[in-house]
Amino acid sequence: MQSDMFKMRLFSLLVLLILFSGMSLYGKDDAKVILAKVDAYRGYNQPFQMNVEVVDYDKNGKVGHKLSFLAYIKDRQSSFLKYIYPPIDKGKVLLMVDDNVWFYHKKISKPLRLSQRQRLLGNVSNADVARANFSFDYSPKIQGRKNIKKQNALVLELNAKHKKVAYSKIILYLSPDTYKPIQGEFYAFSGKLLKTSTYTQFHKVGNSLKIKQMEIVDAVLKGTKTTINYSEYKLKSLPDHYFNPDFLPRIRQL
C-alpha cells in the first residue's frame, strides 16, 4: 500500500515536472519567435543590400564624422561594406565572415586581415551595421513589462551565446503588440552599459516595415551621439565567392 502511494506521488511529481518543463520550453520558444520578429525589422531572411549612413555628433550637437556605404548582407555571418562617402574612402571594402574581418583599400591593393577591434566605421561597431540579426548570437528571455518613452514596453533580455560578439547582454524594449523595437541597451562583458539605442523611424519596404533610423547614445563618451540611417533595402543575389577574401579587389566593380 505504502509502495503504491509512493508510486502515485512519484508519478504526480513526474507529471508536474513535464508540465513545468513544457511551460518553460513554451516560454523560451515564444521569446525566440518575438526575437525573429524584431530581426525582421532589421533585414531579411535572404541576401539583401541597403544604404547605410552613419553620422557622429559631438557634445555640442555638431556633426563630427559622416560615413556612408553600401552594405551587402548575405546571412547572419557573411556581409561586406562598400564605402561611398567621404570621397577619400571610395574604393574601400570591409568584409566580415563569422568572426573574420578583412579590409581592402586601393592604395594597398591587397586584402588585409584585421582584428575585430579595429574600428573603421567611426563610433559604430561592425555588428551594428553588418549583423542584421540578433537571433544567431543571442538567447532571448522575456523579462516582463516596463514603461519606456511613455509606452508600456515588453522587455526582452538577450544574452550572448558566445564571447565572439560585441555585447554580452542586450535589453530590448519592444512594442507589445507588433514587437517593433523602441529602445535597446547594450552591455559589455564587464557588465558596463556601453550604449543606448533608440529606434526613431521606420519605413515601409515592399510589404514589410523596416528600421529607417536609429540613434545611438554612447554611455562611455557621454554627450556624444550617432545616428544610423538605413535606406534602399533591396533583395540581392550574393554568390558564395563574393565572400572569398581574394575577391575583395573585385567587389568595387559590383
Binding site: G64, K66, S78, Y85, P86, P87, I88, K90, G91, V97, D99, N100, K106, K107, I108, S109, K110, L112, R113, L114, S115, Q116, R117, Q118, R119, P239, D240, H241, Y242, F243, N244, P245, D246, F247, P249, R250, R252, Q253
Partner: protein, 400 residues
C-alpha cells in the same frame, strides 16, 4: 606621346562624364594632390656635389581619376589616367599616362580575366611582400606604385578557395597562387617564375582574440644569390656572396598587428634576408660595385650606377642588410580632425634607422593637408644614411 594624348583625352572625358551622363560609363573618384617636397642634400655622402642633379625643391600637382565602362555584365574596361605637372627651380614639365588600363572579362561564372596594365599585390605583410612577384618593395616609402602589364586570371571555387595566374606581357615571368582558408587562418601557396628561376612561396595570416593579428611570408628559391656585408659595421659597398646555386635561399617576414582599446593600431614586422639576386643580376651587381669602388665618382655609363642610385632617385627600398624591423603606429582622430601615421624601419645589422612620421589634418570631407617627414638616422656607413636623403613633404589632397 600617344599615351600622353590619350590620357589627357580620357581625363577630360572623365571630368565631363561626371557631370553630364550616366549609364555604362561612370567615374567613381577624382583625386588632386599638390605635393611640395624639400630635399636636404647637405650631409649626403652618396651624392657628392649633387652629381645626380637631384632637385632640391619641387612642386608636383597630380590628378587621378577612375573611369569604368561596363557595356555588359561580363565585360568592362577600367582606365585610371594620371596627369602630372612638375615644377622645380629650373623649369616645369607635364606628364600624362595611365596608372591602370585594362579590360576585364568574365567568360564563365566565377572566372575573371584581366588584360592590360593593372595594380596587383600578393602577400600578407605591410612593409615588404616577398611573395609579391609584381613589386615586393614596400608601399610606405615610394611616392608612386609600379603597375604591370599582365594577363591576370582568377577562378573562385567558393568562399574559401581560389586560383590565380599571372603572365607578364613584357617578359617571361609568370606566377600561380592557390588561396585557401582553414578556420581563422588564411593561406596562400605560390609558385613564381622570375628571370627563368623558380621560387616557392607561402604566406599565412590569422587572428587571436579580438585585438591581435599575425602574418608571415616565406620564400624559397634555388639558383639565387644574396649579397651582404661581411660584418655589421662594414661599408655597404663591400659585399660577399653568401649563397650559391646548390643551396636553397630562404627569406621570410614575420609580423603582428595589435589594436588598443582606443583604436591605436600597431604593426611590427621582422624581415630576414632580401629577395636575392639571380646569377645574372648578381654578376651585374658585382661588376657595378667594383666599378663604383675603383673611380672617384660614379661613371655615367656604369650599368651599376642606376642600381646604386635607385634608392635616392626613386625612393625604392633596397635590402643591403640581413635583418630589419618595421614598426608602424597609426591612429585616426589622434586629436579632432588630426590623424597620425608613423612608419619606422630599423636595420638591426648596422643600427640604421629610417623614421617616416606623418600627420594628416582634415579640413573637410573633401580636403586634407598632410605633412610627411623622411628622416634617415645612423652612422655615415649605414644603409639608410647613405642611400636616402632627408626630406619633408607638404601635401594638399582633394577628393571628389
Amino acid at each position: 606621346m600617344r599615351q600622353f594624348a590619350l590620357a589627357i583625352i580620357v581625363s577630360f572625358f572623365g571630368i565631363c562624364q561626371q557631370v553630364i551622363a550616366e549609364g555604362s560609363f561612370y567615374v567613381d573618384q577624382h583625386e588632386i594632390k599638390v605635393l611640395s617636397r624639400y630635399n636636404d642634400f647637405q650631409n649626403s655622402v652618396f651624392n657628392p656635389e649633387n652629381i645626380l642633379s637631384l632637385e632640391k625643391k619641387y612642386v608636383t600637382t597630380r590628378y587621378h581619376s577612375s573611369i569604368w565602362w561596363q557595356p555588359e555584365d561580363y565585360f568592362f574596361v577600367h582606365l585610371k589616367p594620371r596627369l602630372k605637372f612638375h615644377v622645380n627651380e629650373t623649369g616645369n614639365k607635364c606628364e600624362a599616362e595611365f596608372d591602370e588600363a585594362y579590360a576585364a572579362l568574365t567568360p564563365i561564372n566565377k572566372l575573371f580575366i584581366d588584360v592590360g596594365k593593372k595594380n596587383i599585390r600578393w602577400g600578407t605583410a605591410y612593409a615588404w611582400n616577398l611573395v609579391n612577384i609584381f613589386d615586393p618593395y614596400n608601399q610606405f616609402i615610394k611616392e608612386e606604385n609600379n603597375f604591370q602589364d599582365v594577363v591576370y586570371a582568377q577562378y573562385y571555387i567558393n568562399d574559401t578557395f581560389s586560383l590565380s595566374h599571372s603572365t607578364f606581357l613584357n617578359h617571361s615571368d609568370y606566377a600561380f597562387k592557390l588561396h585557401g582558408a582553414f578556420h581563422q587562418i588564411d593561406y596562400d601557396f605560390l609558385y613564381l617564375n622570375q628571370n627563368k628561376e623558380s621560387k616557392i612561396g607561402f604566406d599565412v595570416s590569422t587572428t587571436l582574440g579580438d585585438s591581435l593579428e599575425f602574418h608571415a611570408e616565406v620564400l624559397g628559391q634555388k639558383g639565387t644569390s644574396a649579397y651582404f656585408p661581411t660584418n655589421p659595421t662594414q661599408n655597404i659597398y663591400a659585399w660577399e656572396k653568401t649563397n650559391n646555386n646548390q643551396t636553397i635561399f630562404t627569406s621570410f617576414v614575420l609580423g603582428t598587428q595589435y589594436t588598443t582599446i582606443d583604436n591605436t593600431n600597431i604593426v611590427l614586422e621582422y624581415f630576414h634576408n632580401g629577395t636575392g639576386l639571380s646569377n645574372s643580376q648578381y654578376d651585374l651587381a658585382l661588376e657595378g660595385i667594383n666599378e663604383s669602388l675603383s673611380g672617384d665618382k660614379y661613371k655615367a655609363d656604369s650599368p651599376w650606377r642606376g642600381f646604386l642610385l635607385n634608392s635616392s632617385s626613386f625612393y625604392q627600398f633596397s635590402q643591403f642588410r640581413k635583418n630589419y624591423l618595421f614598426l608602424r603606429v597609426s591612429k585616426n582622430n589622434l586629436f579632432e580632425k588630426i590623424s597620425m601615421e608613423w612608419n619606422n624601419y630599423y636595420s638591426i645589422d648596422d643600427q640604421g634607422l629610417l623614421l617616416l612620421p606623418a600627420l594628416k589634418y582634415k579640413v573637410s570631407d573633401y580636403f586634407y593637408i598632410k605633412n610627411r617627414f623622411f628622416l634617415p638616422i645612423g652612422n655615415s656607413l649605414s644603409e639608410f644614411k647613405r642611400f636616402y636623403e632627408k626630406y619633408v613633404i607638404l601635401e594638399l589632397e582633394c577628393f571628389f
